[in-house]
Amino acid sequence: MKKQTIDTRPAGPKPWNDPRVRSLFFQAIAIAFVFWGGWVLVDNTLSNMESRGISTGFGFLNETAGFGIIMNLVPYDATMSYGRTFWVGLTNTLLVSAMGVVAATILGFIIGVARLSSNWLVAKMALVYIEVIRNIPLLLQIFFWYFAVLSNLPSPRQSVDVGGALFLNNRGLYLPEPLTQEGFGIVWGGILLAIAAVVGIRIWAKKRQLATGQIFPTFKVGVAILVVVPLVSYLVAGSPIEWDIPALKGFNFGGGITIIPELAALWIALSLYTASFIAEIVRSGILSVSKGQTEASKALGLPNGLTLRLVVIPQAMRVIIPPLTSQYLNLVKNSSLATAIGYPDLVAVFMGTTLNQTGQAVEVVAITMAVYLTISLLISLFMNIYNRAVAIKER
C-alpha cells in the first residue's frame, strides 16, 4: 500500500466480478440450504411422531427398565430405571474401549518395531500378522473369537482348573476376588510410600546426573521398590486380604470375578485388529526419521538403544500421534460391534433393548450419538495436547 491519504487504487470491479462479493453470496446460499434442511428434518420428525401418537421428552429415563443385563460395573438389577441402563451400557463401553486402547497400543508398538527388525523371521512374522489381521473384517474376527474359540471351551462342570482358584469355561473366566479386610490401610500406606519413594528417587537421580554425570538405574530400582514395599507392608499388616474364590454351584460358578466370554472376545478382537494398524503407523513413524539422524547419532558414539530412545523415537512420535489418535477413535467406535455377540455395551443395552422397549428413538439415538461424539472429542483433545508437547519447533 502506498502511503497516501488519497486512495489511488483503480475503481473496483463490478460486484458480480468481485471475488469477495462472490464468496459472500455463495456462503449465504450454503447456509440457507443447511438451515432449510435442518428445519425440514425436525418438522418432518415432529409431525410423524405426532401422527403416530409418540410422546417426546426424556421422562422415560425414570421408568423401570425391567430387563436383566449380563454384566454391570455399576450396581444394576431389573427393577432399576432406563437411566441406569444407560450408565451400565456406557461403563461397559468405556471398559472395553480402555482395555482395547491399552492392549492395542502395547501390541502395536511391539509389532511395529518387530516389523523393522533386522532378524528375518521376526520381521516376516510381524508382516504376516499385520497383513492377515488388518485385511479381515473386524466383525468376522469378533465372531471368530466368540463362536470358534471361546464357545468351544469346556462346560462349567469340565472347567479348566488352575490351582483350584482360577476357572476357565464357556461361560467365562472366573478369578478370585480380593476382599480387603481391616488393616488394609497399612497396605495402602505402603503403596503410597513406594510411589513417593520412586518419585523421589527419580528426582534425585536426575539431579545427580546433572551434577556428576552418573546415570542411576532408576527403572530397575523403581520396580523393585514398587514390588517390595507393598509386599512387606502387606505381610506386616497380617495379610489383610481374603479371597472370594469362585466355586461350582449347581450348573455354574458363583463368587469371585467373572470375565464373560463376550467381553473377552470383543477385547481380543478389537486389540488385535487395531494393533495391526498401529503397528503400521509406528513403522511409518520410525521410517520417517531420516537415516542421517541415526548415522549422526551413531557417529557420536551413542549405542543403538540410546539412538532409538534419544533421537529416533522423539522424532517419530510427532508423525505417529495424529494417525494414532484416529485409531483410538476407531477402536471406541468399533466397540459398538459388541451388539453382534451380545456384549452389553451402550449400543446393545441402550440403543438396543431400551430403544425397543420405550420406542423413544429420537431421544435414545441422540443421547447415544452425543456420547460417542463426546468420547471421541475428549480423546482428540488429549491427544492434541500431547501432540503439541512433542511437536518440533521450527522458526
Binding site: Q209, A211, E295, A296, A299, L300, G301, L306, I392, K393
Partner: protein
C-alpha cells in the same frame, strides 16, 4: 566464495598452517587391503592407507568413486568385507563394543549436517558428552559453549537447528562433533550442500581446526581448501586410490592420466 581460493593459491604454499612435528603417534588410522562390495558391486578395491596423528588428508575424485563410502568405513557407518581397518589401535570388526569405542574417538561431519531437529543447538552439542562420556551437564554445557564460540555462533545456542542457515547448521555440526573431544575428525563433503556465500564460513572453521593439530580426513571438492591445509591429497577413482601426493605436487605435477583429466575438469572454469 569457495572457488575463489582456487585461482589465488594455485602455486602458493605459504598459507599452510604450522605443523607440530613433536611426538605424533604414527598410524592412528591404518587401512590394509580393504575391500567392500554392495551386493555384486565392488565399491572399494584393495585400499591401503596410513594416516599419522595430526595429519590432514583430503580425498577427492569424481562422484561415484567411493570416497564417501571409504570415509564412512573409518567409523563403520559402512561395513567392509575384507582387509583391516585399525583406528587408534582398535580394529573395526563386528564387535559392537569396539565399534562404539572407535566412534567415541572419531567425530564426523556430514554433507547434510544431520543435526537433531528436536533438540536445541546446545542440546545437540551436549547429548553425546552427557550420555556417552557421562559428563556432568554443567560441564558439558560449558564445554559446548566454548566450541560454539570457536565456530562463532555462541549466540544461537538456544535456537533449534531449523532456525539456522545452512552454514550455521554445519558449524554447529562441527562443534557437536568436537564436543566429544575426538582424536580424529572425518568430513564427508561438508560444503557440498551449502550456498556459495556460506561455504567460506565453514571452510574458515575447518582451516582453524586444521591449524590446531587435529587429525583430519576430508572428502571435498574444495581444491582451495586442499591446497591450503592438506598434508596429502588422495585421488580416488573407480573405488581405487589412484594417486596420493602432497598438494603442491598433486596439483602441479600429477602422475596419473586419470588424475590429470580430473584436475583439468575441475580447474578449467
Amino acid at each position: 566464495m569457495g572457488n575463489s581460493m582456487t585461482d589465488q593459491t594455485l602455486t602458493s604454499e605459504t598459507q599452510t598452517p604450522p605443523k607440530d612435528q613433536s611426538d605424533k603417534k604414527p598410524g592412528i588410522i591404518r587401512v590394509e587391503g580393504m575391500h567392500k562390495w554392495y551386493g555384486d558391486f565392488h565399491v572399494l578395491k584393495d585400499l591401503n592407507l596410513t594416516v599419522d596423528q595430526g595429519e590432514r588428508i583430503v580425498i577427492c575424485g569424481p562422484s561415484g568413486s567411493g570416497k564417501s563410502t571409504f570415509i564412512r568405513c573409518i567409523n563403520r557407518l559402512e561395513e567392509h568385507q575384507q582387509g583391516k581397518i585399525i583406528v587408534d589401535d582398535v580394529e573395526l570388526t563386528d564387535d559392537v563394543r569396539q565399534i562404539d569405542t572407535v566412534r567415541r574417538e572419531v567425530g564426523m561431519v556430514f554433507q547434510h549436517f544431520n543435526l537433531f531437529p528436536h533438540l536445541t543447538v546446545l542440546e545437540n552439542c551436549c547429548l553425546s558428552p552427557i550420555w556417552v562420556r557421562k559428563t556432568p551437564r554443567k560441564e558439558a554445557e560449558a564445554s559446548a559453549m566454548e566450541y560454539l564460540e570457536r565456530v562463532k555462533i555462541p549466540d544461537q545456542a538456544n535456537k533449534f537447528p531449523g532456525q539456522l542457515s545452512g552454514g550455521q547448521q554445519q558449524r554447529v555440526a562441527i562443534a557437536r562433533a568436537l564436543c566429544m573431544k575426538p582424536k580424529i575428525m572425518l568430513f564427508d563433503e561438508p560444503t557440498s550442500a551449502l550456498d556459495p556465500e556460506m561455504i567460506k564460513e565453514v571452510l574458515d572453521v575447518m582451516i582453524e581446526l586444521a591449524g590446531s593439530g587435529m587429525t583430519m580426513m576430508c572428502v571435498t571438492h574444495e581444491m582451495g581448501f586442499a591446497k591450503t591445509v592438506a598434508d596429502r591429497v588422495i585421488f580416488m577413482d573407480g573405488g581405487e586410490i589412484v594417486e596420493q601426493a602432497p598438494p603442491h605436487e598433486f596439483f602441479t605435477n600429477p602422475q596419473e592420466a586419470r588424475t590429470q583429466k580430473f584436475l583439468q575438469q575441475i580447474l578449467a572454469h
